[in-house]
């Protein structure tokens, strides 16, 4: 008997149209947990680095997390993994909603797609009955529209649907997979789904998910529920509202957007508009949101209401969450009404709300600066908002200039040339980032931006406050109920952290402290992604209900194998290193581990070098960011080190050489 997980994956060969239910190895669960962890193992084993993103040999894996479908509040994430067409590295975008638990109830932990379907199809998983069905009538349909049509034609109103829109069908490099109120957006995984000829995956499940120790497990769940209510009643003082509570940033709830609109960049991540948030704008935007927002809504088994149903006059209803609320508005220098309207179309097309507006703003910047010509934009309207609609339509159809822009700013700039590269300025590893440009280097964020392989800052930050508190008494109050820290030393790091003076950024927290802080924050995200837990109840907010002290208990009582803090940390380190290894094998190196050049105005090259050197050593990676043989072997990843040696990525005896060099360094 398997607990928490089902013990089965669905293997779908789209080329041959074959479907197989395959039992998984429980040993892999103990080593890699599930979700992201076991996805990484499959990707390492089955997708060698020669495989191109749009090759039939690339896999597209939809995985429920290990604890999805159990009563653990907020555990509902689907982790989608493939090789990204944009970064050519491993992409592991996630979505909340209702898909992962439904997949578990249908009797599967993962759906693994390989090959390519000759015709557009959708996969219909109805408990034990699984079939590929013709989707030619859905070609060009919106993602949300598609879900509605499929539910009707199957007469299954309770089926959960993950679908792509036109962007995915046309292999736009920032195409998303949409699922009702949620989407897996980053890394262009929707393009891989489109390339495989799969319009949607539809699932309905009515079977049981078991836990190993029911009474213990429920006690843990009840504690979490109580703590969520405590935190909802007691927001953290001294931080801005979106950081004070739990959940994803509560963008659907809040009206006050002074902080985002005045601190984040507008257009192609360039222009800061201090003083933008006037009373008049506040009133207008409040009216817009109140008029369009029908209801705040949740994901499966979660009391947070991070999403909303949005009905703009004259447009079909759609659902939204988080920061997409503002990305189109700010990309186009427009207002909230425009942002919510164009987001409706963008959601149906299925594009990433971070990348898409920046790509469009980038295209217009190239036009303004004479790098692209007016002739490249035939029949484009004059007004800014009209231009955004125009570009969105061109991009998802890959028409004209849209075909180039559909590859994202990095590849588009390369193809356009003529100095366009300077305008693709906000990328990490070829992937568009949050539109933020700041003044003084933050050493913690430097490391997170450089080495976060999810390539999105919100997917690595979280547990440690973003900035020091001005007064010591406030810091003392903060650490009082900070039982989430893995070690008491983190409290001291925070207590001593000052906004100014000797113990302030960029030299405090010290390099070693930064390594500890970044490692802790990253670890919590990696654990979430294996268990299927929403970051909004765990790794993203301060003082969350799930943390390193109760997670091992959840795994032991839920999945039924022994786990403590040390072994959980070791497992997380194992598959985190495996993710690194997959990317290293695909050519990623130290040169790729860096934030956008202009992310901070004040940079400290020597300190940055020391930060990266030290963090690499701390992680067990060599000076080029490659996990060493010794650290791989210690994690039970001997098969990786063997492969590295075979490929010449590592050489035998390299560890000894590196150690000697490090020793020499220290004696200098």
């Amino acid at each position: 008997m398997r607990y928490a997980e089902t013990g089965f994956n669905l293997e779908v060969d789209l080329t041959r149209g074959s479907i197989e239910k395959v039992a998984t190895n429980p040993k892999d669960t103990e080593l890699y947990l599930g979700g992201l962890g076991t996805n990484a193992k499959i990707l390492w084993d089955r997708v060698p680095p020669e495989v191109e993103p749009f090759s039939p040999e690339n896999l597209l894996i939809f995985s429920a997390g290990l604890l999805c479908g159990t009563p653990a509040t907020g555990c509902n994430r689907t982790i989608v993994t493939t090789i990204s067409p944009q970064t050519k590295l491993m992409a592991f975008s996630m979505m909340g909603g209702f898909f992962a638990p439904e997949l578990k109830y249908a009797g599967y932990d993962k759906v693994i797609l390989r090959g390519k379907s000759p015709d557009l199809v959708y996969l219909w998983i109805n408990n034990g009955t699984v079939e590929l069905r013709d989707a030619s009538h859905l070609k060009g349909r919106g993602a949300i529209e598609t879900a509605e049509i499929i539910r009707k034609e199957l007469k299954e109103p309770k089926a959960q649907v993950a679908a792509i829109g036109m962007a995915g069908e046309n292999r736009v490099f920032f195409a998303s997979i949409e699922q009702g109120r949620s989407s897996a957006s980053r890394g262009g995984i929707g393009a891989v789904m489109g390339d495989k000829g799969v319009k949607a995956i539809v699932v309905r499940g009515t079977q049981d998910i078991h836990v190993a120790k029911p009474a213990e497990y429920m006690d843990l769940c009840n504690e979490v529920m109580e703590y969520i209510q405590f935190r909802n009643d007691n927001p953290i003082p001294g931080v801005m509202p979106i950081l004070a509570g739990l959940g994803s940033p509560q963008e659907m709830k809040v009206h006050d957007e002074k902080w985002h609109t005045e601190n984040f960049m507008w257009g192609n991540s360039r222009t800061r508009r201090k003083g933008f948030w006037t009373d008049e704008i506040a009133r207008e935007w409040m009216e817009t949101l109140d008029k369009s927002r029908t209801r705040l809504i949740s994901c499966y088994n979660c009391p947070m209401t991070c999403g909303a149903t949005i009905s703009m006059p004259g447009l079909p209803t759609y659902m939204m969450k988080c920061f997409t609320k503002l990305t189109y508005t700010m990309g186009a220098f427009s207002d909230l009404d425009f942002g919510l309207k164009i987001a409706q179309r963008a959601t149906e097309y299925g594009v990433d709300g971070f990348s898409a507006p920046q790509v469009m703003a980038f295209g217009l910047e190239l036009l303004e600066n004479g790098i692209l010509a007016k002739a490249d934009f035939p029949d484009m309207p004059e007004d800014n908002e009209g231009r955004f609609y125009y570009l969105l339509d061109k991009i998802v159809r890959r028409e004209g200039v849209g075909d180039v822009l559909a590859d994202g700013t990095y590849w588009a700039a390369k193809a356009i040339g003529n100095g366009a590269e300077e305008y693709a300025h906000n990328n990490i590893k070829k992937h568009e980032q949050l539109p933020l440009k700041l003044s003084m280097l933050n050493p913690i964020y430097f490391l997170m931006y450089s080495t976060g392989e999810k390539m999105n800052i919100t997917q690595i930050e979280g547990q440690f406050p973003q900035a020091p508190y001005p007064k010591r008494e406030h810091r003392e109050a903060f650490v009082k109920d900070w039982h989430h820290v893995p070690d008491e030393k983190f409290k001291q790091y925070f207590l001593d952290w000052e906004p100014r003076g000797e113990k302030s950024m960029p030299f405090y927290p010290t390099v070693d402290m930064c390594c500890d802080i970044v490692d802790w924050q990253e670890k919590m995200h990696y654990i979430d992604d294996a268990l299927g837990m929403c970051a909004g109840l765990s790794s993203f907010p301060l003082k969350p209900p799930y943390h390193i002290h109760n997670y091992p208990k959840f795994i032991s009582a839920g999945a039924g194998f022994d786990m403590d803090e040390a072994s959980l940390s070791q497992a997380a380190k194992r598959y985190r290193t495996l993710v690194r290894a997959i990317n290293i094998r695909r050519g990623m190196r130290r040169k790729d581990d860096r934030p956008p050049k202009n992310h901070w105005k004040k940079r400290f090259p020597e300190l940055e070098k020391e930060l990266l050197d030290t963090y690499y050593r701390f992680k067990g990676w060599n000076n080029d960011g490659i996990p060493t043989k010794e650290s791989l072997d210690e994690l039970g990843l001997g098969y990786v080190s063997e492969d590295f040696v075979k490929r010449g990525i590592l050489t035998e005896g390299e560890d000894a050489l590196a150690e000697a060099a490090a020793a020499q360094q220290e004696t200098k």
Binding site: G69, T70, P71, T73, F98, Y105, I144, E148, P157, G180, R181, G205, T206, Q207, D208, I209, H210, V211, P214, A215, Y217, M218, M225, I228, Q229, N232, T294, R295, L296, I297, S298, C299, Y300, N301, C302, P303, T305, T309, P316, T317, Y318, M319
Partner: protein, 181 residues
């Protein structure tokens, strides 16, 4: 026995559809509570509460499993409330042949809400911090509990089984089970 009056507590759940955010925690916890052994598994398809849910039309109606109905009902009226059209089924508690709601997914046996007997409050209420579900209790004079009620429950269950599989098969099954004991 019939006709004898006594004071008893009547439990009502007040349902506020405006406060429901569609998370279905109520379905999850209901199915976990009623699992054997308690909390050992969960499966919303076994739940005795269902959210009739159509997000794009903003319909969210929590409904509790009530009586078993042998046949489909005659009327399927439509209600329009606050501009939103609801099917009559959205408010109906019956476990009936016209829909999948309130039936065990494998056996097809009807399910019925028992207000989580023995708990302080029904767990769906406890797991709904948004107060879409609120327990109300009041004292009422009513007919005394009839030992026949239990008998009736058994008969309802058996009848449902007989409807599904035929009386002969049920008799056979009962005979087999009796032998085992």
């Amino acid at each position: 026995m019939k006709g004898k009056k006594e004071k008893k507590t009547v439990k009502t759940i007040k349902i506020n559809v405006d406060k429901c955010n569609g998370c279905r925690a109520c379905e999850m916890i209901c199915s976990a509570f009623h699992a054997e052994p308690k909390y050992s598994s969960n499966n919303p398809a076994r739940s005795r509460i269902r959210i009739i849910r159509e997000p794009l039309r903003d319909l969210y109606v929590p409904v509790y499993a009530g009586e078993y109905a042998v046949a489909e009902c005659a009327g399927r009226d439509k209600y329009t409330i606050d501009g939103k059209e609801y099917d009559e089924c959205s408010f109906c508690r019956a476990s009936c042949p016209s829909r999948d709601e309130f039936k065990e997914p494998d056996s097809g046996l009807p399910l019925k809400c028992d207000m989580c007997e023995g708990e302080e409050e029904p767990l769906c209420v406890k797991w709904c911090p948004h107060d879409a579900l609120i327990l109300e209790q009041r004292e009422e004079e009513g007919e005394a509990l009839d030992p026949q009620d239990e008998q009736e429950d058994i008969e309802i269950g058996l009848e449902a089984l007989a409807d599904k599989y035929g009386l002969e098969k049920i008799k056979d099954a009962v005979a087999r089970i009796s032998k085992k004991d």
